[in-house]
Assembly symmetry: C2
Homo-oligomer: 305 residues x 2
């Protein structure tokens, strides 16, 4: 079946004649005849009642009805592709590590999608290593995670860094200190995330160096659950500022006295894909703008209370 003939058929129906359709479509009259003839031959059935007043056959009516949807869908598809061309439409597969995926991303994506209603986004939440792998396999377009050095196949661009803060139960003896150092928490219980967590390694190094391992630890796999353990008084956690605030009642955040521990997050994508195109580029610009600034320091209001 030929799309050109299909469109001609629809023009004939809406204009009520071969001649008018030919004129409007800039065809010779004979061209229109030929196209319809071919269409009818393919289908093996007459579509248009010839002679006399213009009229469709039964088959023609059914054909017109059904093909209308098809023509509309094709036009919609063409419009979509045209939107994609300028980045207004698209289907982005992004990845993100916790806590970005749960804390910052929902708000940002909500605003982004409101601005670009024809763009769809799927978010894969995993650690940096897993995301890198999926990027290389072409299963993701871009990811928000920490730096991953896999030669030249991936491109990383830092966007912001996040400090860690102590999250302390409200009634904990250390809660009264305005800041806490690692020395302070010797002989107290620390709550740690699971081994594959980004922060875990940095925290362990700090504990080893500064507390000489004189700290009891307990492992909680989820960062979100962690807050409730702190609230319950089970121990002190070291968490990203964005997790600590807004605070759960019953917990207080305290910045680290002495060494500052922070982790840098950024955009990771296949080197071949950079600079990003189309909708991904739009999302990237948006992320850059939304993520720049916050989380760099503890010297703002939200961390004080």
């Amino acid at each position: 079946m030929d799309l050109k003939a299909l469109k001609t058929f629809h023009r004939i129906v809406s204009l009520g004649g071969f001649n008018r359709a030919a004129e409007e479509l800039n065809y010779a009259q004979s061209t229109v005849t030929m196209q319809i003839k071919k269409l009818e031959a393919e289908l093996g059935i007459l579509l248009i009642e010839r002679g006399k007043l213009f009229q469709l056959t039964e088959a023609g009516r059914v054909f017109h009805q059904q093909s209308t949807h098809i023509v509309k869908d094709i036009e919609h598809l063409e419009a979509t592709m045209s939107d994609m061309l300028v980045g207004e439409a698209g289907n982005i597969r992004m990845g993100a590590v916790e806590p970005i995926a749960s804390c910052q991303l929902p708000g940002i994506l909500d605003r982004f999608l409101s601005k670009y209603p024809k763009i769809r986004i799927s978010v894969d939440i995993a650690n940096t290593a897993a995301l890198s792998e999926r990027l290389l396999k072409g299963e993701l377009d871009l990811a928000l995670c920490s730096r991953q050095d896999i030669g030249t196949a991936l491109y990383f661009e830092p966007l912001f860094s996040e400090d860690l803060v102590f999250l302390v139960p409200e009634r904990h003896p250390l809660a009264s200190n305005p800041t806490l150092s690692f020395e302070d928490i010797k002989h107290h219980r620390m709550l740690l995330t699971s081994k594959n967590c980004l922060y875990r390694k940095k925290i362990e190094i700090a504990l080893q160096e500064r507390c000489e391992n004189q700290v009891e630890t307990m492992e909680i796999s989820s960062m979100a659950a962690m807050k409730h353990y702190v609230e319950g008084g089970l121990g002190i956690a070291l968490v990203p500022k964005s997790i600590a605030s807004p605070q759960l009642s019953g917990t207080v955040a305290r910045k680290i006295n002495g060494t500052r521990i922070s982790i840098t997050f950024g955009m990771l994508c296949k080197a071949a894909d950079y600079p990003l195109k189309l909708a991904c580029a739009k999302l990237y610009q948006y992320l850059k703008q939304e993520l720049a600034g916050p989380g760099d320091t503890l010297d703002d209001d939200s961390s004080r209370s």
Copy 2:
């Protein structure tokens, strides 16, 4: 946009490569390349990631998703047209006069549509003159009505005839007669349908000839309502047997003694359309078979009680 290229694209995706698609579609490899190239050029955007392992671009994924519906719809349309070719599918616009439309037709059409689930039927209910007009204008495909002699433009084929019977109120003085003649109803009140009704003319002629107009008449526009007027004792009606039975309680049917009055119904269509094609032919055959026989006589059980 070209459908051939669209199908090639889908084959490439499902088979995972230009080569395999070319082989399966009996194309040279270069043909496939050309088709995709042209498609991409038209859309202005790359669909397939070249080199390395086979992969779609973001645009390619969106395009594939959306065009899948289109390809399916086209296949469905082709299947429908193929069904139409053998009369298994279709869209029939039929007309019918009362009381056929209300009495016989519902049952017949229900059975017919169960047998041919892909056929759709619309029923236009009007008198013979109006139906003829719509047939000529091409707004109907066939009609069940009485003969209409409009030269050679229309074709009529008798299918069955229906006798008229007297419908008498149960407590009416004439209700005790097993049969009634026109002479019997002199000086009683007759209920007549409106002027454009099929039966009206025949009844008026009979009344004039046999009762010398010594009958009081009253006009009721609807045949269905008529039964209730009879039930209420307002007078005697002369109605088709199929209207009289099943009877409304409070009324009794009596056959005509002497002259038999009957009207012949049949299939009317444009002369140019006869013999009917496709789904219309199927329906016509079915109607013929279902309508043949019943309604010819009063000598069956249903008319006696």
